[in-house]
C-alpha cells in the first residue's frame, strides 16, 4: 500500500542555488540549546488552505517533539509577506532571534493533486540551506497523502540541521490493550510515529504480543496465542496475510528480524528449556544458536549480522550476553574466550536487549530496587546509562536513525501501560499519543 502511495509522490527540485551555509545542531552534546526555528504557515493557492495549515502544524509538531528545536512563536513574526520565490528579509528574523526559517507553499494542480514546496533559510548566514544539494524541495501527491509529505519535510529539515537521517516518516506497531488486568484484550495495532492513523491489525480474540517491524519490508513478526499454542507469526501489512513461522515443537516467542530483514531470530521453549534459533525467511531453514539448560531468549542481531545479544539466566539471574552468530567462540570484554560473553555486571536484572541500528550501543530493560529502567550500554559492557525510571519501564526499540528509543511504561502500580519515547541522551522523555493503553512498541524503518 505504501509503496503504491509513494510512487505517486514526485520529488522535484526548486530552481536557484545560493551557496552552502552552516547552521547545525550537535545531537550528541550532553548540554545543548534548542535551535530557534520559525515555521510560518505555508502560503496556499487554489483552495489548498486546509492542507497548508495542517502540514505546517505537523512539521512544527514533529520538530518540536525532538526537543532539539524551539519553534518561534507566530506572534513574534515581523515579516508577514513571505513568498517561496523571494528572499526573506533576514533582518526581520534576526531581530526575533530565529536561526532558521522555513518558507513553504501549497497548491492544487489542475488534475486535483496536491503540490507542496518549501525552502529552509539560514537567517544569520543569509542564505538558503541546500537539501540534497538542491535549494528547496517540492512534492506532488494525492491530497490524502498530505500527512506523509509533512513528515518528509520534517525529515528533510531535521537531517539538514542535525546531520542525522530522519525518523518522522515512520510508523510504530504496538499492542493495543483494553479490559481488566485479569482478562486483558491485546490487539496488534499500527499508527504513524506521531500517533496519527491508528489501525487495529488483529481482532483481539487471541492474545498477541511483541510485534517487530521488518527493516526491509512492510512485514511484522509477532507472537500469538491463536490455536491455543503460542507461536511466532509473520504478518504482511500490505496483503493482511498471516502465517506461522517455522515448524517448531512447543512454543516459539520473542521474535526479532535480522537487520537485513532476511531472517528472524526467535526463542523456542519446550520441556522447560528456552533456546534461541535463527530462521532464514527465504529457505525457511532454521539453525539453533544456543543450547543451554538456562533460559536464553530476547535475541537481537548486530547491524552487520555477525553478533547476537540475548537475555540469559545462566549466571543465576537474567543478564545480557553476546555471542557470534556463527557460534564460534569470542574474546570476552571481561577476559577469556567463550561461546557467549556476559556484558552486564551492574546491580539488578537485565532483559530485552536491542542492538542499536548504529551498532555501538545496546538498549535494555533493567530491574533494580523495585523500579524498572530503560538504559543503554556499550557492546563491551562499558558505559551503562539509565535513561528512564518508573514502576514499569519495558521493551525498548530504536528509531531507525538510532537517536530515539521508544518503550512502554506503567507509571504507577495499576496504571495501564502507555508508549513513551526518550532521546538517546536521556533528554526529552515524552508520552506518545495512543487512544488506548499500549505496550510493546516497535519502530518501522523510514518509509520509501
Amino acid at each position: 500500500m505504501f509503496k503504491k502511495l509513494m510512487a505517486a509522490i514526485a520529488v522535484l527540485c526548486l530552481p536557484a542555488a545560493p551557496a552552502l551555509a552552516d547552521i547545525t545542531i550537535d545531537v550528541t552534546e550532553g548540554t545543548y540549546k534548542p535551535l530557534p526555528i520559525a515555521i510560518p504557515e505555508f502560503t496556499a493557492e487554489g483552495g489548498s488552505e486546509d492542507y497548508s495549515r495542517q502540514i505546517t502544524e505537523v512539521v512544527k509538531n514533529d520538530l518540536a517533539s525532538t526537543g532539539l528545536f524551539e519553534i518561534t512563536q507566530e506572534a513574534a513574526f515581523i515579516q508577514k509577506d513571505l513568498s517561496i520565490d523571494v528572499q526573506p528579509r533576514f533582518a526581520d528574523w534576526k531581530i526575533i532571534q530565529t536561526d532558521a526559517l522555513v518558507v513553504g507553499e501549497t497548491g492544487l494542480t489542475e488534475d486535483g493533486r496536491l503540490r507542496v514546496a518549501f525552502r529552509l533559510w539560514d537567517v544569520y548566514g543569509e542564505e538558503v540551506l541546500r537539501l540534497d544539494n538542491q535549494p528547496g524541495r517540492q512534492y506532488t501527491t494525492t491530497p490524502d497523502n498530505w500527512r506523509r509529505i509533512a513528515h518528509k519535510i520534517s525529515d528533510s529539515i531535521y537531517t539538514r540541521l542535525t546531520g542525522e537521517s530522519g525518523f518522522f516518516d515512520t510508523r510504530i506497531v504496538y499492542i493495543a490493550e483494553s479490559g481488566p488486568k485479569t482478562a486483558r484484550v491485546k490487539r496488534l495495532a499500527i499508527m504513524d510515529m506521531d500517533g496519527a492513523n491508528p489501525q487495529f491489525l488483529t481482532s483481539g480474540v487471541h492474545t498477541v504480543l511483541t510485534p517487530r517491524f521488518s527493516p526491509s519490508a512492510q512485514e511484522i513478526t509477532y507472537m500469538s496465542y491463536e490455536g491455543g499454542r503460542p507461536r511466532v507469526y509473520l504478518f504482511n501489512i500490505e496483503t493482511g496475510r498471516q502465517e506461522v513461522l517455522g515448524d517448531f515443537e512447543g512454543m516459539t516467542f520473542a521474535p526479532r528480524f535480522s537487520r537485513d530483514g532476511g531472517s528472524v531470530l526467535l526463542t523456542q521453549a519446550r520441556g522447560g528449556n528456552s533456546d534461541i534459533y535463527v530462521m532464514n525467511l527465504r529457505s525457511r531453514q532454521s539453525r539453533r544458536l544456543t543450547d543451554h539448560p538456562a533460559i536464553d531468549t530476547s535475541p537481537s542481531m548486530s547491524p552487520d549480522g555477525r553478533r547476537i545479544v540475548f537475555n540469559s539466566d545462566r549466571g543465576g539471574s537474567p543478564q545480557l550476553y553476546i555471542m557470534n552468530t556463527d557460534g564460534s567462540p569470542l574474546t570476552c570484554p571481561s577476559g577469556g574466550r567463550d561461546t557467549a560473553c556476559r556484558i552486564t555486571f551492574g546491580q539488578g536484572r537485565y532483559s530485552t536487549p536491542v542492538w542499536s541500528p548504529r551498532g555501538d550501543l545496546i538498549a535494555f530493560t533493567k530491574q533494580t530496587r523495585g523500579k524498572f529502567h530503560i538504559g543503554v550500554i556499550g557492546i563491551d559492557g562499558k558505559g551503562e546509562r539509565l535513561l528512564s525510571e518508573a514502576y514499569l519501564d519495558e521493551g525498548p526499540d530504536w528509531s531507525p536513525n538510532g537517536r530515539v528509543i521508544t518503550f512502554f511504561r506503567e507509571n504507577y502500580p495499576g496504571a495501564g501501560p502507555r508508549l513513551w519515547s526518550v532521546d538517546l541522551t536521556g533528554r526529552n522523555l515524552r508520552q506518545m499519543n495512543t487512544s488506548t493503553d499500549a505496550s510493546d512498541p516497535a519502530w518501522s524503518p523510514l518509509l520509501d
Partner: protein, 181 residues
C-alpha cells in the same frame, strides 16, 4: 511470605475436605467461572453426630478437583522449584488423575508482573514443565498433560503488591472436559 500463602492455600483445601464447618476461606479468584458457591455453614445441624455425611462436591467432578485436590502450586520469586506443599498438591492431582483416567489436563505456567514479558514467557514455560515432569514421575501419562505459558499476561490477582505477586507465580492445572477428547 510464600510459605504462609501456601499454608493458607493448603488450609483452604483442608477446610474444603472437612466439609464446610467453619467460615469459608477466601478462595483465590479462579480464572474459570467460580465453582458453585458452597452453602453457608449450617451451624444449626446439631443432631446426633451419627456418621458424618459427605456434603462436598461430587467425586470425579471438576469441582471435586478444584476443592479437594487443589489446582495451583505457587512458586518463589524467580524460581520454578516445587517445595513440600506443592508436592502434596501434585500428589493429590496425580492420584485423582489415576482415579479418573478419562480426564486430561492443561498445565499453565504463570509469573508475576515484576519481570519482562519475554523472560516471563520462558519462565512460565519452565514452571509448567516442572509441574508436568513431577506428575509424570508419579505415573501420569505424559500424553494426558498439555502445557502452556502465559508469562505475566494472565494474573490471578490484579493487585500490585507482594501478596498478589506471590499468588500470580503459579502453576495452574486445568482439568479438560473429558468429552473434548
Amino acid at each position: 511470605m510464600n510459605t504462609l500463602l501456601k499454608a493458607s492455600a493448603a488450609a483452604a483445601v483442608l477446610v474444603g475436605v472437612a466439609a464446610c464447618a467453619s467460615q469459608p476461606e477466601p478462595e483465590p479468584v479462579a480464572e474459570t467461572p467460580a465453582p458453585v458457591e458452597e452453602p453457608a455453614p449450617v451451624e444449626t445441624v446439631e443432631a446426633a453426630p451419627a456418621e458424618p455425611v459427605y456434603t462436598g462436591p461430587t467425586p470425579g467432578s471438576l469441582e471435586d478437583f478444584q476443592v479437594n485436590v487443589g489446582e495451583r502450586v505457587y512458586f518463589d520469586l524467580d524460581q520454578s522449584r516445587l517445595d513440600g506443599d506443592d508436592q502434596e498438591i501434585l500428589n493429590r492431582q496425580a492420584a485423582w488423575l489415576a482415579t479418573y483416567p478419562q480426564f486430561n489436563i492443561l498445565v499453565a505456567g504463570n509469573c508475576d508482573e515484576r519481570g519482562t514479558r519475554e523472560y516471563n514467557l520462558a519462565l512460565g514455560e519452565r514452571r509448567a514443565a516442572v509441574v508436568k515432569d513431577y506428575l509424570v514421575s508419579l505415573g501420569v501419562d505424559a500424553s494426558r498433560i498439555e502445557t502452556i505459558s502465559y508469562g505475566k499476561e494472565r494474573p490471578l490477582d490484579a493487585s500490585s503488591n507482594e501478596a498478589a505477586w506471590a499468588r500470580n507465580r503459579n502453576g495452574f492445572t486445568q482439568v479438560l472436559d473429558a468429552t473434548a477428547g
